[in-house]
């Protein structure tokens, strides 16, 4: 089932297509997510990265095969098909989700946001408190009044409070100040020690730091799969796929380079 790769696979996606309001946003996407480390999902703006994530989770109308190998004790036997299941069932199998734009519940307090997210019998409150001391200090504050960075921490904490078998993380550093970007990356690196991560990220420095593998999407299809660092070293490919020079990646996100498309 997995693509001849020697490492084990946690999730396979085959021929995924997805629609939003009748509009085709993902054409035909196939890739594997290895069962360790961070895998980056890259591409210019609007190529369908977020929609791919949402399609996997069933948050938008989708078709295709999505198989999860994290279920059960043996971990890697036959796999479970996710593409027919409803979102909450998919998540309950141990897939954590950190959405684009954080999507914290602004009228709930920090503590309520976290309490709502607690799925496990023994949620990892201490782990989260250690990673995000800033949040623990303000449990009664409404999430809507937090800073962008704090909201992102909260969004991450919601996913990390449960013991997941896979994390889907969508643009966690979007719109954040450079110093906060570092903190978010630290938290992700810490999390990735124990759980595989599929990461959508425009900030190539973060990708370089965290990601082992890279999958590039263009026009709703996968156009490249390989080692993340090899990709970022290759000027030609980064310009072609991401619309930026790898060297400029830190300061300049791929958004601004997308005009050539």
């Amino acid at each position: 089932m997995s693509s001849g790769n020697s490492t084990a696979t946690i999730l396979t996606v085959r021929g995924l297509s997805a629609k939003i309001a009748g509009q085709q946003v993902v054409e035909d996407v196939s890739f594997d997510v290895p069962s360790t480390g961070v895998t980056a999902l890259l591409g210019r703006n609007g190529v369908g990265k977020t929609s791919t994530i949402k399609g996997i989770l069933g948050l938008i109308e989708r078709r295709g095969e999505v198989t999860f190998f994290g279920d059960g004790a043996s971990g890697n036997a036959a796999g479970v098909r996710l593409d027919r299941q409803r979102t909450h069932r998919i998540v309950q199998r141990g897939i954590g989700y950190v959405p684009e734009d954080r999507e914290v519940f602004s009228k709930l307090t920090v503590a309520e946001n976290l309490r709502l997210a607690e799925r496990d019998a023994n949620p990892r409150r201490d782990f989260v408190a250690e990673l995000f001391p800033d949040l623990v200090a303000r449990p009664g504050q409404l999430a809507g009044t937090l800073s962008g960075g704090q909201q992102q921490m909260l969004s991450l904490a919601r996913a990390l409070i449960n013991t997941n078998k896979l994390l889907l993380v969508d643009e966690p550093t979007k719109g954040l100040a450079p110093i906060i970007v570092g903190e978010v990356a630290d938290a992700l690196a810490e999390a990735a020690k124990t759980v595989p991560v599929l990461l959508v990220e425009q900030n190539l420095q973060v990708v370089r730091r965290l990601a082992a593998g890279a999958i590039v999407i263009e026009g709703g299809r996968v156009v490249h799969t390989g080692d993340a660092n090899e990709l970022l070293e290759d000027d030609d490919m980064t310009r072609r796929f991401l619309g930026v020079h790898a060297e400029a990646g830190g300061q300049k996100s791929a958004d601004s380079g997308a005009t050539t498309s």
Binding site: L57, L59, R86, T87, H88, V91, Q92, Y97, P99, E103, F105, S106, K107, L108, E112, R115, L116, A117, R119, R158, N162
Partner: protein, 291 residues
Amino acid sequence: MSTVILLLITGLGLGALYFLIASGLSLIYGLMGVLNFAHGSFLTLGAYIGWEVARVLGADNWAVFIASVLVGAAVGAAFAAATEFFLIRKLYERHIEQVLVTVGLALASVALFDGIWGTDPIYVTGPSWLGGTTEILGASIPNNRFILILASVLVLLGIVAFLKYTRYGLIIRAGVENRSMVTALGIDVRRAFTVVFAIGGAAAGVGGVLASSYYGYVSSGIGGSLLIFAFIVTVIGGLGSLSGAAIAAALVAVLQQFANFYLGGTGDFVVVLLLAVVLLVRPSGLLGSKA
């Protein structure tokens, strides 16, 4: 002065009635995007059953009155939960069809009530105190207004406590804000749908028993006629906002009473005008989320 007091308290009593319907409408719309035309029928059924309880127990004392309010609430909740479970759920995310189904249910249920209890109004009596009046600053206030206000305050506090201190309440509050993110946390938000319907139905059932005391009779049309004003209240308060519904209910009803008295019976017009103005100036309502 005494007139002003009378109008004010009577208005608040009517507002309490509006709130008992609007609270459920607003929560249901906020969480599910369903505009529930059958909500008036929940109230009407509560009123009829409340009357049946009083009839069977045969005494016009307080214990019977409270029992009929509680039974009315239970019946309203059961009817509403069944509506969600058997009709609304099948049409998940298809909002227009969901509205249509509630329209059909409203038509069918009112006709059924006519068939069971007849088309003539049934006059109700309660504890004798309810039919009397109390003197406040020179105004003779019908006592049932106080009960209405008290009941709706209790219902408001009950719903607020439920939303604040229970897991379902947490899910409902989060779902009103962003339903798909709730499912993305691994929560089956649909189970909360049945719960909000049941809460809304219970409040409407209480409203039904109290409405029959307010008007002095039960008829198959009482739910429907109150429903239109409850819609207006819900929209003015901001769809999905419980406190918005409470404020708007009081505002609309008091305004209505004053306009009826001082502006030659134009209460309904003033309310419609208020709705038009609010929607044009602030389309999301007084406390609506998307400003």
